[in-house]
């Protein structure tokens, strides 16, 4: 119960903190809009097939969630280091994972702005009408995708704890995930050896669940796969975190000074 309260309180706290910077918020919304604009022009030039344009609109919308997560999550610990709070959080009696996880889920939740902005952008500037067959499941699929992307961010955050410039890794991960998870390109179009990597990434299943729920398909298996993979990231991330923290405590190297 205490852990749940900590997770909930941390999520609200970090969501408020990350919502404070107007500049960061503006970039989080604008950055995917540039890409979605290019994508709408590219798919639109090939013909005005509403199904293809809706496919592009949904993919472009979810791209923003990963954008909002990749750099902030990968550099979450470095940011705590700069603020001088990393050692305090690591020394607190609460498990450090319960402090870090809401941080990365909050950054992913900022991506909701991108989803809303991109869908509005596609509707009013490009006239892309998005029909959602099952609105409830659609919302659930979006929530599950955001949650799983936040969990992937958690795994990245703990993996890069010893890396001072972890934001650069997060930035470099932006395009590969957009590509491999099938946000804008069907996974079937990628080389065969890339597909297993796609299947191991929760956003792939989340994206499919969102599309299936919009098209009236069967999103449940994809939704469950998305959540299961997200849970696996957290479990693996906790193992990594324990190892990293033990090593940092033994060597006194948490601050990287």
């Amino acid at each position: 119960m205490r852990t749940l309260r900590l997770l909930g309180f941390g999520f609200v706290l970090y969501l408020k903190m990350y919502s404070q910077s107007a500049f960061d918020g503006l970039l989080a919304v604008l950055w995917p809009l540039f890409f979605s604009t290019v994508v709408f022009f590219m798919y639109g030039a090939g013909g005005d097939d509403p199904a293809i344009l809706a496919y592009a609109a949904l993919g472009a919308a979810v791209m923003g969630v990963w954008t909002a997560t990749s750099v902030p999550a990968s550099s979450a610990l470095q940011r705590q280091r700069w603020q001088g709070t990393l050692e305090l959080l690591a020394a607190a009696p609460a498990h450090f994972g319960a402090v870090l996880l809401p941080m990365t889920i909050a950054t992913a939740t900022i991506g909701l702005y991108c989803i809303a902005a991109t869908l509005l952008w596609s509707r009013f500037l490009f006239g892309i009408a998005l029909a959602v067959a099952d609105p409830l499941v659609f919302v659930a699929a979006i929530a599950a995708t955001i949650l799983s992307i936040g969990m992937l961010g958690f795994l990245m955050a703990v993996s890069f704890v010893r890396y001072r410039t972890s934001w650069a890794i997060g930035a470099a991960a932006e395009y590969p995930v957009w590509l491999i998870c099938g946000f804008l390109v069907p996974v079937a179009l990628l080389p065969d050896w890339v597909r297993p990597i796609s299947w191991a990434l929760a956003p792939t299943w989340g994206m499919t669940a969102i599309r299936e729920s919009a098209n009236g398909g069967t999103p449940l298996p994809d939704l469950l796969a998305c959540l299961a993979l997200g849970g696996a990231y957290v479990a693996f991330g906790l193992l990594v975190l324990d190892t990293v923290l033990r090593s940092a405590r033994t060597r006194g190297s948490l601050s990287l000074t």
């Binding site: 970039l27 798919y43 090939g46 395009y175 804008l184 390109v185």
Partner: protein, 261 residues
Amino acid sequence: MTSARIFFIGGLISFRALFGFMSPWIFIPTLVVTPIFQILLFVYIGRSAQLESDEFYVIGNALQYSAVPCLFAMTNTIAGERFQQTLGFLLVSPARRLPLFLGRAIPVVVNGFFVAAFSMLVAGVLLGLDIPTSALVPMALVIAASAFSCTGLGLVLAGLGLIVRETAVFLNIVFGFLLVFTGANVPLDVLPGWMSAISQGLPFTHGIDAARRLADGESLAEVSNLIVTELGLGVVYAMAGFAFLLLLERQSRRHATLDRA
């Protein structure tokens, strides 16, 4: 002689000191890996949309991505002085402003050239592009001209960096703007007329067009007007940026606002 020293040695030292991307831990993920994935992303979107060939996206994105080193480095090598609290010392120095500011642009152009050329080469090999050997040297010239023109725009933004605090956010927005408008991924005739019109005044538009024509077998002479236009834009931007910097320097002296942004 002093001006030449400020231009070459001062420019190089400033670039190494203030362009934080020079650390290999940042340089490799950001300026080596990322441009290749940007190219691959748009190549696959292009295949999915069945709009243009792989070559179209490789050339467009390799050139356009050099906006990252050109814009960020040019801004950081001037606006970064304020962050390091050395801007005041720089501006009270008797050094001539032309070599002082423009000298910082040369390493930026070289870096932008490297990023574009390397990503084009790697992506070309990965995707099996067949660019005529005779086009390689003219292509290098086009890449250099594009890096120069974007660095000119970077000089304008460097001036803005003296009055705007969040330069990184601003530069990302300019990068996105160039992605949409320069024809890197969307043929200019597909863009609405007003967007195509704006693209004619932006860096990369003519360079990308020239590089694609060279790859398609046209000669250097046939694309020379595009290269000259790209270089001309670079000169105009560089002059505007230089004038802007001088103006802001005067304003900051008059109103004592140098470190206030």
